[in-house]
């Protein structure tokens, strides 16, 4: 038995692919740190602007951090699935298997086993959300605190919902949307549109409010320590000693816990809404119909063969 296996060159490349983008984001942020005093609650920083037809596209910090997150997840996926073996799996492989199996269980448990091809999508949603939210631990601004990012995700959820509703058949869709009576159709449409809006604001609002509260508390603690140290001369009166430690506990809740929980809730709501758009009963009905049609076709073919 050899000693602990060292990382080879490709492993290191994967890890660099995973972590270098974050490093790049941090450097970019530090280089563009504005010299401002006091409290300012703003959106994401705009690094440069691209002129586009309808609306200019500002390349913001949120965008860049979410790209970094994609690269991070990609690099980690490559790193974890390298050198997989059927027998005696490595620790990395155990982690990869654990992730896939857990998320598979989560998806099958919440959506039913007929939706098990949604596992990679939910995986992507979860990882993007979790690592975007956790990137604020590196001093970056969470992309999830930007409404545009979350809006894109929930539009995709909405599209999947509509697609699943249509899978049962156009007629069933029309009947379902005009339940219980035809005049209720607009209400049903609004109800459907409310879903992506609601999940967008839930996720984005939670993360943003966490960031805002953290900023406010930090500023307040600075002010408070200045008030206490008022008598000291010069810069000594400006030491924000109350900001040591206390914001860490706030961050534990608002960044770590809230980020993880909101990612989970967003994926859960996506799963619920998408699977709820195509209930099991309809699925079974459609399957039975399909089976009946196929049997009819086979019977017809056999009859033809007999005739010939």
């Amino acid at each position: 038995m050899t000693k602990k296996k060292k990382l080879d060159f490709v492993d290191i490349l994967c890890l660099i692919l995973a972590f270098a983008p974050y490093l790049f984001c941090m450097i970019l942020k530090i280089l563009t740190e504005p010299q401002t005093e006091g409290l300012s609650i703003t959106g994401a920083r705009i690094y440069w602007t691209v002129h586009m037809p309808i609306q200019d596209l500002p390349i913001t910090e949120s965008q860049i951090v979410s790209w970094a997150t994609i690269l991070f997840v990609f690099g980690m996926a490559l790193f974890l699935t390298r050198k997989m073996r059927v027998r005696r799996p490595t620790v990395r492989q155990h982690i990869a298997e654990l992730i896939v199996e857990k998320i598979d269980d989560l998806v099958c448990g919440n959506m039913g086993s007929r939706f098990n091809n949604y596992t990679p999508y939910i995986m992507g949603l979860l990882f993007l959300s979790v690592f975007s939210s956790l990137s604020c631990l590196l001093g970056l601004r969470s992309p999830t605190a930007d409404i545009n990012i979350i809006a894109g995700w929930s539009i995709l959820t909405f599209a999947l919902m509509i697609y699943q509703k249509f899978r049962a058949g156009g007629l069933v869709f029309c009947k379902k949307i005009s339940e219980p009576m035809v005049p209720f159709t607009p209400l049903n449409i609004i109800g459907d549109i409310a879903v992506p809006v609601a999940i967008t604001f839930r996720h984005y609002g939670n993360i943003l409010s966490g960031a805002v509260i953290t900023t406010l508390v930090g500023t307040a603690l600075s002010g408070l320590s200045h008030m206490i140290l008022h008598g000291l001369p010069g810069w000594l009166g400006y030491i924000p000693f109350l900001r040591i430690g206390i914001p860490a506990f706030m961050s534990l809740y608002f960044d770590l816990f809230s980020g993880l929980v909101q990612a989970y809730i967003f994926s859960l709501l996506t799963m619920m809404n998408v699977s709820g758009s195509f209930p099991e009963a309809e699925y079974e009905e459609k399957k039975a119909k399909k089976l009946a049609r196929r049997e009819a076709r086979i019977a017809a073919r056999e009859a033809q063969a007999h005739a010939a």
Partner: protein, 169 residues
Amino acid sequence: MIQTLEVISLNLWQVIISLIDLLIIFLLLKKFLYKPVKKLLAKREAQVNSIYSKAEAARAAAEADKATYHEKLSYAQEEAKDIIKSAQASATRISNTLISDANEEVAAMRQKAEADIALEKQKATNEVKTLISDLSLNIAEKMLGREINSDDQSALIDQFIKDIGDGND
């Protein structure tokens, strides 16, 4: 001076880019994490199943072997018992014949010995008879101081010994 967005500001292109981001990460994870791991799990399951079926077959074969061994063993034991029994029987038979042969031989030897003894006895008796007749002749010669007719003498002694022998019998 670096610019920032408003806290709440919707931008169509950003929304679209984020949507595409999600699609990209979905495809990447599907290609590089989900499919390889699923493939591996399926492979492992197939391997485990084949190992199980092989083990099952091996166990069945071993059970069959065991049954045949048991059968053979019991057969061999019976055979051994038979062999021992027949060996014992033949041994008894042989010993019996040996003993009876020995007995017969002994009896024959004894008869022969007895016959020999009788012969020897007869011989000895005859010898003793001659010896005594010679002796008594000598004695009588000396006592009488005269020579008797040899024929008369022999007849006389024979008569005498016969008398003694008769008396003895």
